[in-house]
Symmetry: C2
Subunit: 237 residues, 2 copies
DNA sequence: GGGAGCCTCGCTATTTTTGGGGAGGGTAAA
DNA sequence: TTTACCCTCCCCAAAAATAGCGAGGCTCCC
């Protein structure tokens, strides 16, 4: 490929702590000559993790305003497998427009390119490039680096996961076949009695599975258990 | 990068149907000079999708024996983000050993390298290279192509997803902010009264949101509504 | 051979959720 | 201006879920 990202890939593999991780985003930003490079977790289960070149003011504001819940970038990427240019997203709602303008105020560029990355246990992260430029210039930059960026995003995520492995019990819970089956039926909308009938067992037995799954998942109630099982990828509806 | 996989990447982007997809696996196999290239979907019980160069006898046997449920490759990849060489996996159980020997009998090589890929809605796929050779030779081959293979796997998955009619056609319902918020709180495990307190509204009002969301989502009960909202990417827990 | 985990079933009692029915005011687009 | 959707609140009876107590048989691994 045509850019100098090969060398950068070597660099990032040397990263050993959070500071170096953060430095790597800065380095990539300078290498590409753009305004911002950001990697962050949008984690359902687990802790926050993020690094990048956005101003801390913007990060604080983002969190404070809970923009996470309406950011079109996040929703767009959450439903896609492929990277996405921000302008492909749906900015039609008033809230989205306000969010975009607010971002510009805080030094975020008007062009963005975000790669969704998914790991085990429902891990979900975004890797974003951002700049202030024309559509054409941006498209060209992206086209030049498209494939390398996938690998770069992959490497960033690998590093981020390796940091997390220390802090947390790395192996998520697993459900027994019957438990998974029970939770899956509930996720499909069946009531307990229907699910029990479907599985050919007594409703009481089904209840035992649900309870057991709930404990394994650390869930407070059935709905929570289903939500966790889903977002951890333990079941598929 | 150093190999001829760049050209192959161009080829795979031209793929337009399942036959060409299948052909692409063959082409890549020949390009790398190895025994097998396989892409397959591991949506536990969902739709099947797969292509590759394994003999149909082996595929049939795999399905018939329900090896899916104990295959160490699948288990290992499910818990990992990074690609994995088969020999790093846990083959210690008796069932795993038997499975491996059975695979050899059916023409599967002793060396394997599998890349896990995750898409939206819990999509999970594996991209596997397989060959019969020594550890050293295999490691070298992998090291040479490591990064390109990530991109190749990515492209294969992109194509596979595009074939899936589901992902394209449907424009799902959307939830109002309060509805989304209500459903999100439930997905986090809060009870109705807790969620209502959190949102600063009466429990009755909260119920109206849930009901309304349920109808929009075509869900039979609250748990179903949460599950649908989650898998449609309408909320993020 | 013992322990761990899985699968199956039973009971009672309490709390929570659900499925209907209403009503009024706001905002926003057509 | 009308229509539509959003937000907020209320009642009631029936259904479902939860929490706790049990029990026995099965397989697999150390």
């Amino acid at each position: 490929m045509t850019t100098g990202l090969q060398d950068f890939l070597e660099d990032i593999q040397q990263v050993e702590n959070f500071e170096e991780f953060q430095d790597a985003t800065v380095k990539l930003r300078d290498l590409l000559g753009i305004a911002h490079v950001v990697y962050h977790w949008v984690n359902s289960v687990g802790e926050r993790f993020g690094a990048g070149t956005y101003s801390s003011e913007w990060v604080d504001r983002y969190l404070e305003k809970d923009y996470l819940r309406m950011d079109p970038v996040i929703f767009g990427c959450f439903q896609r497998f492929t990277p996405v240019s921000w302008k492909q997203l749906d900015w039609s709602s008033k809230a989205a427009k306000a969010f975009f303008l607010d971002a510009l105020d805080y030094g975020v560029g008007n062009q963005g390119y975000t790669i969704p990355i998914r790991g085990p246990n429902g891990q979900f992260a975004l890797f974003t490039l951002n700049h202030n430029t024309t559509d054409d210039a941006w498209d060209q930059l992206i086209a030049r680096n498209e494939r390398d960026l996938v690998v770069v995003a992959h490497e960033f995520n690998k590093k981020a996961l390796s940091f997390d492995a220390h802090s947390e019990a790395q192996v998520g819970p697993s459900l027994s076949p019957r438990e998974a089956s029970a939770i899956t039926h509930l996720a499909k909308g069946l009531s307990r009695s229907q699910a029990a009938a479907e599985m050919g067992i007594s409703e009481h037995t089904l209840r035992v599975y649900i309870e057991s799954a709930r404990h394994k998942l650390g869930a407070m109630n059935t709905t929570h258990a289903v939500a966790r099982a889903l977002s951890m990828g333990l079941i598929i509806v």
